[in-house]
């Protein structure tokens, strides 16, 4: 059993100055909020970029007012140039994947609630934790500077396939300085996430309070733990890749650029590099990254649902093992991104089967969720609505995996909007719903104020319907062979599809605008929302035993002692409550379940 006296390696006192309280804080809670704010900034930028892209795709030669001021070369007279479209696309993807989907559900909520839920005063290495945020923040700044260099951001997409990404400015606008900035930003980002993962893992391993055995950890902790294990290995592989890419740019090495390439009738001064090397390194990171984005969401949704269903999941073990299986498989399947990349066709098959296998753990999780709904006393609130929406989105995005996992079908659907629809549904929207669910669920704890439920519900309904209107049609487009990453649709077989794009654009503008409700709710409730009780949702895990918001040292200096797992819902107790907090020695009289 873990030792209760395990204190952080660096015990830090209460913050004294404004700087140490809000800026360079060692407090995991403040750092969590900092991550959340960063993600909020990033997601706004990313969303505006997607708006611009959508408008361009719907009405290619339409002048977008004000865009010329933003980028005279990118949008002469407000009409977006093809390269500017690709540059916006690259930045949209990079910002969303790294600075929203990785930071919000993992770094933000994880930082805030992981130490609390294991009953610790803080993470073992608060200084690393602080560095982790500020490195990530620096990475974000570096990335954004790409907008302000002469040729603008890179246009090679978030996958930045070599040699397009490695040759330099001759390959296209933004492929010089912009691409180097991009690579540098990612390299720095990796450092931040490695430090974070290190902290997360040792928090779970070593900082658990008395009685908090591994089997009693709330599912969210497991999700964050699994995610940090993936992050530790994935980002450790991306960083070398970015280093080599930068060297190809600035040092004239040839890691990724083969011989005999010709641009502008000039031989490219590189030789002997391997094009596929980048793809292998990138996707070895890239596929786990997808799960880094979604697994925390699965944890949050499970946590929110158990609380609101007033009953434990049918089998928490099944969910945990499934998440582990996902994490494990994610390293064996990255090749399915390269079916048509000229890999040995046999290896395509080798990668295809584990990819198909991924559907098994995913299905297990979904079935456990749905099965647990049966006979529950489901409470409908914004948090649970988004959690249920997550399940629906996860299913919708998941089934398209059936197609893309098969090389033979990938021949038709690779690099089409079918893929775009697939990953937006499953790692974009689903993860977002996880973030929303977590926000509505934990906001009272984080700020001490309740969020406005009415606005929250409106926000859910419009977002839920809106996102389906955006991303379902993507699948139809892909099915008809609509190629992705096109700045305009000039091909005869694509022209008939433009109306669909216009529909999507309208839906996107609408759904994006709806998010202003969320922003308003967030800001308004932060200051004007009614005061939140310690345990508004009648939850059992340790974050609910402390006041809202928690004091700087979480449990007021004395470590809680844990007697139960976090799933003591739907039980009969002397006090008449249908749940038992993890830290209460009280035993259930008899589970009120039939069996």
């Amino acid at each position: 059993m873990p030792d209760a006296s395990a204190a952080p390696a660096v015990v830090h006192g209460p913050p004294t100055t404004f700087l140490s309280k809000h800026v360079f804080s060692l407090d995991h809670k403040v750092i969590g909020l900092q991550y959340y704010t960063l993600a909020l900034f990033a997601v706004v930028i990313g969303m505006v970029l997607s708006w611009l892209m959508r408008i361009h795709l719907g009405w290619t030669n339409a002048a977008i007012p004000g865009l010329q001021a933003l980028s005279p070369n990118g949008a002469p007279g407000g009409v977006m140039t093809p390269e500017y479209y690709l540059q916006l696309m690259t930045m949209h993807a990079t910002i969303m994947v790294f600075f929203v989907l990785t930071t919000a559900p993992f770094a933000a909520f994880g930082n805030y609630f992981l130490p609390i839920q294991v009953g610790a005063e803080d993470m073992p290495f608060p200084h690393f934790n602080m560095m982790s945020f500020w490195t990530t923040f620096t990475a974000f700044l570096i990335l954004v500077t790409a907008f302000f260099v002469p040729d603008g951001p890179p246009l090679a997409g978030w996958t930045s396939y070599a040699p397009l990404s490695a040759i330099g400015k001759d390959a296209g606008p933004g492929q010089g300085t912009g691409q180097v900035i991009w690579a540098a930003a990612l390299g720095v980002f990796c450092i931040g996430q490695l430090l974070g993962s290190l902290n997360f893992i040792s928090t779970v391993l070593d900082m658990r309070t008395k009685g908090m055995t591994l089997s009693r950890l709330p599912v969210t902790c497991w999700a964050w733990f699994i995610t940090s294990c993936m992050g530790l290995t994935a980002f450790a592989v991306l960083m070398p890749a970015t280093i080599l890419l930068i060297l190809d740019h600035v040092a004239g090495t040839s890691f990724f650029v083969p011989s005999g390439l010709v641009l502008n009738d000039q031989l490219v001064p590189h030789s002997g590099g391997s094009t596929l090397l980048w793809q292998h390194l990138f996707w070895f990171f890239g596929h786990p990254e997808v799960y880094i984005a979604i697994v925390p969401g699965m944890g949050i949704v499970t946590h929110v649902l158990t609380t609101n269903m007033r009953r434990p999941m049918l089998s928490m073990k099944a969910i945990l093992y499934s998440m582990w299986a996902l994490a494990f498989l994610s390293y064996m399947v990255y090749g399915h991104h390269m079916f048509v990349s000229g890999m040995n066709p046999f290896s395509s098959l080798v990668f295809s089967f584990p990819t198909l296998m991924i559907t098994i753990p995913s299905t297990v999780v979904v079935l456990i969720w749905i099965g647990s709904l049966y006979g529950s006393k489901l409470r409908i609130n914004t948090a649970s609505l988004f959690a249920l929406g997550f399940i629906s989105m996860f299913v919708s995005g998941g089934v398209s995996g059936f197609f893309l996992a098969q090389p033979s079908i990938d021949i038709m659907l690779h690099a089409t909007y079918f893929v775009v629809g697939h990953f937006h549904m499953v790692m974009g929207v689903a993860a977002m719903f996880g973030i929303f669910s977590g926000t509505y669920f934990w906001f009272p704890k984080m700020t001490g104020h309740m969020m406005n439920e009415t606005i929250g519900k409106i926000h859910f309904w419009l977002t839920f319907i809106g996102t389906y209107c955006i991303f379902m049609p993507f699948h139809y487009l892909g099915w008809a062979g609509n190629v992705r990453r096109y700045a305009a649709f000039t091909d005869d077989f694509l022209k008939p599809l433009i109306p669909v794009h216009q529909f999507i654009t309208i839906a996107a503008l609408f759904t994006g605008a709806v998010q202003l409700l969320f922003l308003y709710n967030l800001i308004y409730s932060r200051f004007r929302g009614p005061a939140a009780p310690a345990n508004p949702w009648e939850g059992t895990s340790l974050e609910w035993i402390m006041p809202s918001p928690p004091p700087w040292n979480n449990f007021g200096g004395k470590d809680p002692v844990v007697y139960h797992d976090a799933d003591q819902y739907g039980v009969k107790t002397a006090s008449g409550a249908d749940y038992i907090m993890q830290n209460s020695p009280e035993q259930a009289l008899a589970t009120s379940e039939g069996d």
Binding site: L198, L232, A241, L244, F255, L281
Partner: protein, 225 residues
Amino acid sequence: MATTVPPPKIEILPAPDRPGNGHVGGGQNLIPDGANLRVAQQYSPPASSSAIWVGIAAICMSFAAFTSALIVRQGASNDWRHITLPSVLFLSTLLLLASSVTLEVARRRVASYMLGTDSHIASPRLWLSLTLGLGLLFVAGQYMAWLQLRSQGLYLATNPNSSFFYVFTAVHALHVLGGLAGLLRAIRKLGNATLRRSTLDATAIYWHFMGVLWIYLFLLLWLKI
């Protein structure tokens, strides 16, 4: 110095039954469990001693990626020219290995100091500083190796083998510098009697790992696979 260290009140704590807590590396053969040690009653959380392995795992992943890059790149085309490694590398390798030995000695001295059998803080500090010095010499050696290559006209971009050589040695040297920072920290903490066994152990594990990693890289670059 030693006199400034207040002899703390001794109370025996049971060593908790989980990994870490000064039971890593050379720990066991120094201190029997539950022994009456100055350190035992304020062992650090084991966080550092398990985190160090987590960190090492991450570093291993990175160099695994580098290695696969090397293998793929080598097979990618026939422009691979094997470079003969600068002779100074053999020396710096020895230096790094020696530093591991001196660090182990230092750890024993620290232990015996904490045991109270040796009341002089000077000797452990000396051995730690020795390790630090050897580490610095190693980095200097790497730098000299680069100079030797330059003098042969082998630069970063000259051929893939030299590219990888510079990348590997540079990245490894950075990690070594990190280890040196750790050693400095340990020396400082030893000075003001706040050094925890687990801190020193973690630093030592990391430092030995640097040695192992270097041997691996050295062979990778030396054996013309």
